[in-house]
Amino acid sequence: MTTLEQQKAKPEGRKDPWGPLLEKVGKTQDRAAYHALFEHFAPQIKYYAISNGLASHAEELVQEVFISIWRRSCLYDWRKAAASTWIFTIARNQRIDMLRKMKRSSAEMAIETEDLWQIPGDNEDEPVTSLHRLMSERRIRESLSLLPEEQITVIAKVYMEHKSHQMVADELEIPLGTVKSRVRLALNKLKVILQDQNV
């Protein structure tokens, strides 16, 4: 990372209020900072668990996510992800793990959840490529506020209810094509669609 990028990245990084707290936990095992993160994120994660059909394990998921946050916080790098993005990926992976454990037969898997779903910053080799990551959360928030409700509903079901596009279509009783086009329109606004990027 060049000095210029650092200069540009830093002010944006500071706009993420949770990043510094996470770094404190990582560097000095700061329990006040940890508590502040817990106060903010635990209720989100509990709802995430419930909406994902894990109501009877919701407290357990919150615990697992926060244990993981405690242990991994030393790896957190604000240049690679906003704190909330980092925490989301941990919650997602813990949810996947919990579902796996619940349905696991005797068979052991050769690969772990984290071999397939990486937490940002886990891979040391990965360069800090762009300011894109730092911008994206704020930009997403802004773009989302402009999206029609029907598009947000579909995205929320995919992220919060663990539903495939097909399941969303069945539930809303609309064609799969309609679901996909709503998602595409939304992702287009969010600049995830390929053509909008500099390939």
């Binding site: 997602r92 690969i111 071999d115 992220y159 495939s164 390929l194």
Partner: protein
């Protein structure tokens, strides 16, 4: 350089954690080699964070944080996850160092296959490796259902273009093709075939990008 990327909808299902392990594996192998798609997934992960933030909140039990601290104190100085040591790629973990040395089964002419579905005991999808010898041709065929394929080694070409290492392809029944392995290496692909929601016939045939 890879030029065929997963579409945004698949990346979103990946970011949401909704894909099966074999499908996630195909995406992950591509992401490991494609900074562009990695950046798309970063954005999608942030979308997940924002969605989580904008949904309702549910208060945790009063003792939740104390329990957490008790757990932290009871397991002192647990080793931090070893991010510093180079990890094996998921492919190496699954298949070992050299995919050319696997117990390939010669199928038809230039094509060999290896069914690795049993590596994913929790899934009901078929996961198949295929090898087309360098310069070899596969017979013309179409596909049933959606097949997700990633090129692990070498390259193949069909009427839609050239698919190089780490390129990502989704084929369905509309795609009749006659792939040819191009370049001087055998072309090896990994394919995941989702079981269709409604099974209408027997489901025993080898389904893959080369042969049907």
């Amino acid at each position: 350089m890879t030029r065929h990327h997963p579409d945004s909808l698949s990346l979103m299902e990946y970011s949401a954690g909704n894909l099966s392990q074999p499908h996630a594996l195909c995406i992950k192998l591509h992401l490991d080699q494609c900074p562009h798609c990695r950046s798309r997934v970063d954005t999608l992960d942030s979308l997940g964070a924002v969605m989580m933030d904008q949904q309702p909140k549910v208060s945790v039990s009063d003792t939740s944080f104390e329990q957490l601290l008790a757990r932290i104190d009871s397991v002192p100085a647990e080793a931090a996850p070893a991010a510093k040591t180079p990890r094996l790629s998921p492919l190496q973990k699954l298949l070992g160092e050299d995919i050319n040395q696997l117990p390939w089964k010669r199928q038809l002419g230039d094509v060999s296959v290896l069914d690795i579905s049993d590596k994913f005991p929790e899934q009901n999808e078929r996961v198949v490796l295929q090898k087309l010898v360098a310069g070899g041709k596969a017979p013309a065929h179409t596909h049933r259902g959606n097949e997700t394929t990633i090129v692990l080694q070498g390259a193949f070409a069909d009427q839609k273009g050239v698919f190089n290492q780490w390129d990502f392809v989704v084929l369905n029944e509309q795609d009749e093709h006659k792939p040819v392995a191009v370049g001087c290496e055998d072309c090896i692909t990994l394919s995941v075939l989702s079981a269709p929601l409604k099974l209408t016939g027997t489901f025993t045939r080898m389904l893959n990008p080369f042969i049907r």
